[in-house]
């Protein structure tokens, strides 16, 4: 109770500051303070037994808290240097709403309340996409709002079907709490469970951005500022993976895992192949990153689908993907400010023009494609190993996907970072505040790759045991 009360007071204070002040900078500091408070809350939830949360929730909570702290720290320099004229009241409000509902969604122990919180958190992202207020950003926001709203309505339908399958089985408790479903799922009616799986999967896969349901992703990530792209590509996707993981747990508990595995494998491979083809002919750096995000969603989905060591790899990859996407979107934001544009027609030789951000972008690209000794190498390698145990044919498709994606992303990033810089004067200079966050995020993935702390290893093992059921 005390914790809930303290959290409410903190959020109310931050909201008050956001509404009262007229300075963009003060708002940025207020959100950063909130992020620090959230980190404290995360530490409390991890160590003290205030609310009962399982290893999966803990894991995603750590990701969101770290990433949000980084993004809000970057936000201080972003809002005071680059965007001092553009009023950030509504964006700051959305960021606060996002954090509050993301946390609630992570600790939720019931399907429908989880749905409500996830939907609110994703609605809060709409003003972030709309930040630049031009034609393209309107279009991207509308696409995002609409596809995600419709997708998530289908997820709600699926959840209600789970309840109906409990009613059909004559269960005494038909509430949608995880505890009840995981304990009694075996006896539920299997036809309705399968139908509900299809609906919930479509709903949350839209939010995750798996292949046929991805079309909002390139537009939204491409049009919003890099700092918000970092939040969505890293944070929002981790949240929707948590929702999908809950679905996997339910299907495993009710002995319907065969259908689920096939669907995950199929969508995973399809997303990887499609996204790598989509990357090949792109000149817009942020859109390439959006396709790379689709590809990595595919890798994670494949990892969960093949099971075994793949599940460990997929969970670890959620962590790496969140931090690396956070780093690369912020770095690309810096590059865009230095050149004034984000297409390859204008951007080249970033390492020569802004050495630090350019180098960070280049190294993050290496980490994203899975170069050792970054954490992403080990997660992708675990998924490869899981795929090898599952089937050889699948391994072929996965390696093809990885190679194509490597070609696609390297073509863009290499020509953006190497070569002779174009003579464009925008007056932007790298400062510590602008490149510290991507650097730290990159170092964290490097650190977990070289020497994963025991706590994290245990948490990941515990979490993958929960999924296996």
């Amino acid at each position: 109770m005390t914790v809930a009360f303290l959290c409410t007071v903190c959020v109310a204070t931050v909201l008050g500051v956001i509404f009262i002040t007229k300075e963009n900078k003060t708002r940025a500091y207020a959100i950063f303070a909130l992020a620090l408070g959230h980190l404290l809350l995360t530490l409390c939830l991890l160590n003290l037994n205030i609310v009962h949360i399982d290893a999966l929730s803990k894991f995603i909570l750590i990701i969101i808290s770290t990433l949000y702290l980084g993004i809000t720290f970057h936000g201080i320099s972003y809002f005071s240097i680059c965007q001092s004229q553009n009023n950030n009241k509504y964006v700051a409000l959305s960021l606060v709403i996002f954090l509050v509902f993301a946390t609630l969604m992570i600790v939720a122990d019931e399907l429908i309340s989880m749905w409500i919180f996830l939907e609110t958190a994703s609605l809060a992202c709409a003003p972030l996409i709309y930040y630049n207020k031009n034609k393209a950003s309107i279009e991207a926001t509308w696409k995002y709002l609409f596809l995600c709203s419709i997708g998530i309505i289908l997820a709600l339908v699926g959840m209600l079907f789970i309840s109906y399958s409990a009613i059909m089985a004559g269960a005494s408790d038909t509430s949608l709490s995880f505890e009840n479903i995981l304990a009694n799922g075996k006896s539920f009616n299997s036809t309705w469970l399968k139908i509900s799986f299809v609906f919930i999967f479509i709903g949350f896969a839209t939010k995750t951005g798996l292949f046929p349901l991805h079309s909002w992703k390139a537009d939204a990530y491409g049009e919003e500022p890099g700092i918000f792209g970092a939040l969505m590509a890293g944070g929002m996707t981790s949240l929707s993976w948590l929702a999908l993981i809950r679905l996997m747990q339910i299907m495993n508990a009710s002995k319907e895992s065969a259908l689920m595995q096939n669907v995950l494998v199929f969508f995973g491979v399809a997303s990887m192949l499609f996204a790598s083809i989509g990357m090949l002919n792109q000149s817009d750096i942020k859109r390439v990153l959006a396709y790379s995000s689709i590809e990595h969603m595919g890798i994670i989905s494949l990892g969960f689908g093949v099971g075994g060591v793949g599940i460990f790899g997929a969970l670890f990859h959620i962590f790496n993907n969140a931090l690396l996407k956070g780093a690369i979107f912020i770095a690309v934001g810096n590059i865009k400010r230095a050149f004034g544009e984000k297409t390859l027609y204008f951007v080249s030789g970033a390492i020569g023009k802004i050495p630090i951000s350019g180098t960070i972008l280049f190294i993050t690209f290496l980490a994203i494609v899975g170069t050792p000794p970054f954490g992403s190498f080990f997660s992708i390698f675990s998924i490869l190993k899981g795929t090898l145990n599952y089937s050889n044919g699948l391994l072929f498709f996965m390696i093809m996907g990885l190679i194509f994606a490597f070609i696609g992303i390297s073509k863009t990033i290499l020509s953006a970072t190497r070569g002779k810089p174009k003579d464009i004067q925008t007056g932007y200079k790298d400062t510590l505040g602008m490149y510290l966050v991507p650097l730290v995020l990159l170092l964290i993935t490097l650190f977990v790759g070289i020497n994963m702390p025991n706590i994290m290893q245990n948490l990941l093992n515990e979490a993958s045991l929960l999924i296996k059921g």
């Binding site: 709309y130 034609k135 926001t141 709203s149 419709i150 036809t191 390139a218 989509g278």
Partner: protein
């Protein structure tokens, strides 16, 4: 449980779906969706003994679906000066025909699904599927962005049919939470509609096609 009253309400819902797909004025469609939501609010009273919380939920639904959402949408239509014509991509008669087919399909699908005896006497499951499909049909067959919001609301009404069937598993707080989320969604969509209408011509969704591969 009162099958004949439930079926009467659900038939009205089907007719309103058909009416919206056939109407060519946007404000008429917004009002029809509001009426559909209000009619559906009565559904809960026929499923079980009414309690205080049901009455409370009833009032909230009437307020949100019957007054606040249509008020917001009509206000946006007038503020943004959106043309009243629906501008169909698929003509009115063909859409109504497709909708009739989807109703037929829903009844066919529902007859194949395992249902409780109590739900077999009513047409609740087929009407749920038909309403979901009508909403999607409206979204894909009309050009303006605001009609897509109307389609979204029809789909939401469909979900409400399903949730009122499941007495006992969806709590009051969850119902209210879903309703508030829909309200927040429509509110943000309304703001966006206003910006679309001022930036593009007359809120035309077909113009939203500059971002492509």
């Amino acid at each position: 449980m009162n099958p004949s009253s439930i079926n009467t309400i659900l038939l009205f819902v089907l007719l309103i779906n058909m009416f919206i797909l056939g109407s060519n004025r946007i404000i008429t469609a917004i009002k029809a969706v509001a009426i559909q939501g209000v009619i559906l609010a009565f559904l809960a009273f026929f499923f079980k003994e009414t309690t205080d919380s049901d009455a409370f939920l009833f009032i909230i639904i009437i307020a949100v679906k019957g007054f606040i959402i249509p008020y917001l949408l009509i206000k946006v239509t007038k503020m943004a000066d959106i043309n009243q014509e629906m501008t169909p991509l698929i003509g009115y008669v063909p859409t109504m025909f497709i909708d009739a087919l989807s109703v037929f399909l829903s009844f066919f699908v529902a007859s194949k699904l395992p249902l409780l005896p109590a739900h077999q006497e009513t047409i609740i499951v087929p009407v749920f599927f038909a309403t979901l499909m009508s909403g999607m049909l409206l979204i894909i067959s009309r050009q303006k962005a605001i009609t897509q919001v109307v389609g979204y609301l029809i789909m939401e009404n469909g979900v409400f049919i399903l949730s009122s069937m499941l007495t006992g598993s969806v709590t009051l707080l969850a119902e209210i939470g879903v309703l508030l989320d829909v309200l927040a969604g429509v509110f943000i969509m309304g703001i966006m509609l206003n910006h679309i209408a001022t930036t593009f011509e007359k809120g035309d969704a077909v113009k939203l096609t500059s971002l492509r591969e």
